[in-house]
């Protein structure tokens, strides 16, 4: 039996178990108001089922992780696919730990979709095992990456609880200025989540259809002596080009809904690596996400937040506030250890300096500074509850930027995990 094949099967199993777990959670909460049953017993029963299914999902996920480790003879955390799946797994572990403390099964209602999104996002990246370059071949890398991911997973649970808190307390019926602002931002957060789902769906839809387009891009570089030189490179698209690369000609393009030619050209000032393709992907994600969001709004006939809000009744907001804070408080030392201290130890061995102001390092520091500011603010009056929940949400945005955004936008030593 091939371990790598077995591990991918386990991965698929984990993914579906998570999805079922999420559906059961929805039944648990949504079925409260069904007739002929005691709401309390219903929630208890179904959230129990949902939790067990999620735990099975985690078990399958762990199976995936260890068989892949065994099969490839290296810990699967060395490329974006492996790292993101590991992060998803860590979120589940963090969720189980927080659950063990607080016994609030409904937390899974938000931790699970987060895991599902991240695991699905991971599948966007190439899944094959890649051999390590020598600088990555160190025990400290493994320790650094796993610990950092675990710390970030607790921040993710803090985010999930914070978002739940907001959906619980932001009243979508109020019309005061402050309430309206809060409603708008909650709705925007949900919209962003939908756009991310839109991104994943678009990738898989076009991948399933086998879409391809190819461009030849000419790049003019000016060297130090002021001499111009032109290089051309082929750029592959897997989504129909709304934006083609700057200064490029179409070599090959599958037609899409009658679209034969790229619609627009990427502006010249976007000159990062593969800027055109990234812009195109972002635009597609926003289009698909907005479509999804629009359909949801049509079906629900109200804002998503307003639709979810009533189901959150009966959950104690102060518990959510504390869970969010507690998750971050548990995650903070783990994150410090993994993302800063172990990272420094490894950097000192691999690159012979413990700190080099590489963008990824700086963003880890930014994350750390952000959460230390959060923890200090929690001590002051007036920073519990809604403000604190918003901070937890923003914090997770920073975490995700550190993990993904830095690789997409800024290049550096960590770009081995590139997209």
């Amino acid at each position: 039996m091939n371990y790598l094949e077995f591990s991918s099967d386990a991965f698929i199993a984990a993914f579906f178990l998570y999805c079922f777990g999420f559906i059961f959670y929805m039944i648990a909460i949504g079925g409260k108001k069904w007739s002929n049953r005691d709401p309390k017993a219903h929630v208890k029963r179904w959230s129990r089922i949902a939790f067990i299914v999620s735990i099975l999902g985690l078990a399958a996920h762990l199976t995936f992780f260890f068989t892949r480790w065994y099969g490839s003879k290296q810990i699967p955390t060395s490329n974006m696919y492996e790292f993101m799946t590991f992060l998803g797994m860590s979120i589940m572990i963090a969720f189980v730990i927080i659950f063990a403390i607080y016994r609030t099964p409904l937390l899974g209602m938000f931790a699970l979709p987060l895991t599902i999104i991240i695991v699905a996002y991971a599948s966007v990246f190439p899944q094959e095992v890649q051999p390590l370059i020598p600088s990555l071949n160190s025990i400290w890398l493994k320790i650094h990456v796993t610990t950092a991911a675990l710390g970030e997973a607790f921040f993710a649970v803090g985010f999930a609880a914070g978002l739940m808190y907001l959906l619980r307390v932001v009243d979508f019926k109020q019309t005061s200025q402050a309430a309206k602002r809060a409603q708008r931002w909650v709705e925007f957060t949900l919209y962003v989540l939908v756009v991310i789902i839109g991104f994943i769906l678009t990738v898989f839809a076009f991948r399933g259809a086998g879409y391809e387009a190819q461009f030849l891009q000419e790049k003019v570089t000016i060297d130090n002596r002021g001499q111009e030189s032109t290089t051309s490179e082929t750029v592959m698209y897997t989504m129909p080009p709304i934006f083609k690369p700057y200064n490029s000609i179409t070599q090959k393009m599958d037609s899409f809904l009658g679209m034969q030619e790229p619609l627009l050209e990427t502006p010249s000032w976007m000159n990062g690596v593969n800027a055109g393709r990234k812009l195109n992907t972002v635009v597609w994600s926003i289009i698909t996400g907005s479509l999804l969001y629009g359909i949801a709004r049509l079906l629900l006939r109200k804002r998503l937040g307003a639709a979810i809000h009533p189901y959150m009744d009966g959950i104690d907001p102060e518990d959510l506030d504390e869970i969010s804070y507690r998750a971050i408080a548990i995650g903070f030392p783990v994150f410090t250890l993994g993302a800063l201290i172990f990272a420094m130890i490894w950097a000192n061995i691999a690159w012979s300096r413990f700190w080099g102001w590489d963008p990824k390092e700086v963003w880890a520091l930014i994350t750390w500074l952000y959460y230390s500011a959060y923890l200090h603010l929690r001590l002051s009056r007036g920073w519990q509850g809604q403000r604190s929940a918003w901070l937890a949400v923003i914090g997770f945005v920073i975490v995700m930027f550190t993990l993904i955004g830095v690789n997409l936008i800024i290049s550096g030593l960590h770009s081995y995990a590139g997209v």
């Binding site: 590489d358 963003w363 002051s380």
Partner: protein, 550 residues
């Protein structure tokens, strides 16, 4: 403004005290509210709070404020973000003066002019770090001493208002022997590892007080860390340089008395079987290793006029993640260049008319001898060009000092040659010979004579060059110590929680208040558990006195 700081229990408190240090009765503005009490630092006054602050006090109070600390953190965070917008100078190979404008246009130019291209080395970023460091010292000192004093002499019987304005509160009428009930509760709490103190019908149960010191220990670690980072800028504390050592060569490590030799360099590549399809056929290094020897110079150092005397002090096979370490000096594997270069050739002279062959003679590429006797012929090296080119004035010239396209102009003399010799331009590299058309340049002599190398056995190629990063960092141990202390503090502060329960019975009415610095959920379940054991059933949630209201 006159402020009475004497509590009704008779205790004289410091200015700024929120809760009487002795009985816990709320003072000042806290007295007026019914909200749960602000229990930070147990309501003691910050050490430096004074009625009439002078200039020094004002500076001190500035740094003593947590609000200022949070602002400093936020500003540092934003400044750090600015530094990641464009690539920093230290990661650049190009000249920073032109790079930013060429790459990013006007914005890049402004970025460079504002000094954001070296944010993390700038004076203002360092100022921010210094201010954070100051804030760490002052904030901690101002709070930890009063807190220590307050926690080490706690009164057991607290003021009723103090108890009833905690976040976890229980109040009920009880019947029976009051002292017995209180001591029974105390016994139960002991099982939960509480330390229980009794004073008649009053009780104080406390656990994990040490976790209160966590933040301060963390801060001490951070201060040590920052000082260690700072110490690195003291001359001699650290060194960071790269040396390129060709196989077989010994190179001086500048600024030290050490020399390092590359005895052998080997590189392993991944085989195609090990690579995924996309990478097949590419040379992806799996492992590279330098067999290195470290020498110390014992005499004639730093003197070009004499050969230095070297003594071997250490040897190590350096691979990635495994440096040579000798007395604080570390040599890391950084990179390599395996491209072979010509080092010397052994050409022969051929008389094309007779077919006779003479030689070979050895021609070193970089520093050749200037005259050779080969058979009956004499070769005088007239000039050498490391990277041959024809200059603007039509004369041969060199474009660099690296042997990228070496060429040698010989004056050939001997039988069948003109008196005074004839010039012959020789290119050792076959590719240069064709590119510059050696034969055409050498006409007419090229029809009668040829200088050429017979076979690869007459070519000496250079071994691979290894790039080593030489480091010295005396501050490193302190960095790790600081980080470790900081980590211990974090763990103490975040994974243990200081929990206290105050209880008193007044005329048959039991009043209980409990406080923790984190995790009220756990606090409530502890109280509910103890009460349950004593026969009072309560739902943990009902103990909540509110407080998180926004």
């Amino acid at each position: 403004m006159f402020q009475n700081t004497k509590c009704e229990c008779g205790h004289q408190n410091h200015i700024g005290t929120v809760l009487c240090e002795s009985c816990g009765k709320p003072l000042g503005e806290e007295l007026l509210s019914d909200e749960p009490l602000e229990m930070r630092y147990d309501g003691v006054a910050r050490r430096s709070q004074k009625a009439n602050p002078n200039f020094i006090d004002k500076i001190w109070n500035f740094f003593s404020s947590v609000k200022i600390a949070v602002y400093l953190i936020i500003i540092t965070l934003l400044a750090s973000i600015l530094g990641t917008i464009f690539r920093q100078e230290n990661l650049l190979n190009e000249d920073p003066a032109t790079y930013y404008e060429i790459q990013h246009g006007t914005i890049g130019k402004i970025y460079y002019m504002l000094g954001l291209s070296h944010t993390y080395e700038s004076w203002w970023y360092t100022t921010l770090l210094v201010m954070i460091g100051t804030s760490l010292v002052v904030c901690s000192l101002d709070r930890v001493l009063p807190l220590y004093r307050a926690l080490s002499k706690q009164q057991i019987r607290k003021h009723l208002r103090f108890i009833l304005r905690q976040k976890v509160v229980y109040q009920a009428q009880i019947s029976g022997d009051e002292t017995k009930i209180v001591s029974a509760l105390g016994e139960h709490l002991k099982k939960k590892r509480y330390r229980v103190h009794m004073d008649g019908t009053a009780l104080l149960a406390e656990k994990n007080r040490f976790s209160r010191w966590g933040p301060y220990i963390n801060h001490i670690g951070l201060i040590l860390f920052l000082l260690a980072v700072l110490a690195r800028s003291i001359p001699g504390f650290q060194m960071d340089m790269y040396v390129a050592v060709q196989q077989g060569q010994t190179v001086e490590i500048e600024g030290t008395s050490y020399y390092i030799k590359n005895e052998q360099f080997t590189v392993d590549y991944y085989t195609d079987d090990e690579l995924p399809d996309a990478l097949k056929g590419t040379a992806r290094a799996k492992l590279y290793e330098t067999k290195a020897v470290l020498y110390e110079c014992t005499a004639n150092c730093n003197n070009v006029t004499q050969e230095p005397v070297l003594k071997e002090v250490d040897r190590h096979d350096i691979v990635m993640n495994d440096p040579l370490i000798y007395e604080g000096l570390k040599a890391y594997q950084s990179g390599f260049d395996a491209t072979p270069r010509l080092e010397a050739v052994k050409p022969v002279i051929i008389n094309k008319e007779t077919g006779e062959e003479y030689g070979p003679f050895e021609l070193e590429i970089r520093n050749p001898k200037t005259s050779f006797e080969v058979g009956p012929y004499k070769l005088e090296l007239h000039s050498q060009f490391m990277e041959f080119a024809i200059g603007e004035n039509g004369e041969p010239t060199t474009l660099s000092r690296e042997p990228n396209a070496p060429a040698y102009l010989f004056i050939l003399s001997g039988p069948e040659l003109k008196a005074g010799g004839e010039p012959y331009l020789y290119f050792p590299n076959q590719i240069d010979k064709l590119q510059f058309n050696q034969d055409a340049l050498n006409r007419p002599i090229a029809d009668r004579f040829e200088i050429k190398v017979n076979g690869m056995e007459n070519v000496k190629l250079s071994g691979p060059t290894t790039y080593l990063n030489i480091r010295k960092d005396k501050a490193l141990p302190y960095i790790w110590i600081g980080a470790t202390i900081s980590m211990i503090g974090l763990i103490m502060g975040f994974y243990w929680h200081h929990r206290r329960i105050w209880l008193r019975v007044d005329r048959g009415e039991l009043s209980l208040g409990a406080h923790t610095n984190k995790n009220f959920y756990g606090m409530r379940s502890d109280v509910a558990w103890a009460l349950g054991k004593a026969g009072i059933e309560v739902d943990p949630k009902s103990l909540d006195n509110g407080g998180n209201k926004t």
